[in-house]
Symmetry: C2
Subunit: 107 residues, 2 copies
DNA sequence: AAAGCGCTTGGCTATTTTGCCAAATAAGCA
DNA sequence: TGCTTATTTGGCAAAATAGCCAAGCGCTTT
């Protein structure tokens, strides 16, 4: 019955935000640079409203940030360390494609 | 409508496994060393069957591994790089408690 | 072999999440 | 001002997840 610490709560929020195929795809794509909602919708193929809600969740978790310019809202990563983060995820247990490539130091 | 890559699928599996307060707590605790299911149940306070199912999810994602010894099943982290992983999570956007401590390089 | 202990699995309900449509809002343009 | 475009919000039904109880299974001990 150990209580959950504020730090762990924040971790869960970030992890939850990224633990969805569409939201991870959006975030991975934003590593290449900012995009507006319409462009992101084309990328994932969902309804715009759905994409907008996914982006809200990512924003809420502090993963992405946005800026309105004219009619468009441009989204970008809230921090550049995201590629390091993905490398860490892959190292927890390397994905099949990378197994044996030496990329994962454990498992 | 971009398809999800096998690598991203694996990432989602890992992230999903950890994106639950109880499962994150279990995993954080296993950083200190292996424990059996009964001990982990005492830690989180849920029903044993619930804990067992959480552990199955973590095992399936490759986060933890287990070994049966006598009557008990002992769980441990599948790889030692997990503390690095947590640091990465915290850096995506530092938790309130660590904000301003210099621990997070971005946001 | 029978009973006890630790864990897992099956099954069920409650809760949460997802994703669509429709409507509302905001900003540029005729 | 009114129209069009880009995005967000509300609301709902479908799907996924969580957590409890009960039953099953494998070891160990007697």
């Amino acid at each position: 019955m150990t209580a959950i610490s504020p730090t762990s709560q924040k971790r869960v929020a970030v992890l939850k935000a990224l633990a969805h195929p569409t939201r991870l795809l959006l975030t991975e794509r934003l590593m290449q640079g900012e995009l507006c909602v319409g462009e992101l919708r084309d990328l994932v193929g969902d309804d715009v409203s759905t994409v907008s809600k996914h982006l809200l969740i990512l924003r809420h978790a502090g993963v992405v940030a946005c800026q309105k310019r004219g009619l468009n809202v441009y989204y970008r990563l809230a921090c550049e360390c995201f590629s390091d983060f993905l490398q860490c995820v892959d190292q927890v247990c390397p994905p099949p494609a990378m197994a044996g490539s030496g990329a994962g130091v454990c498992c």
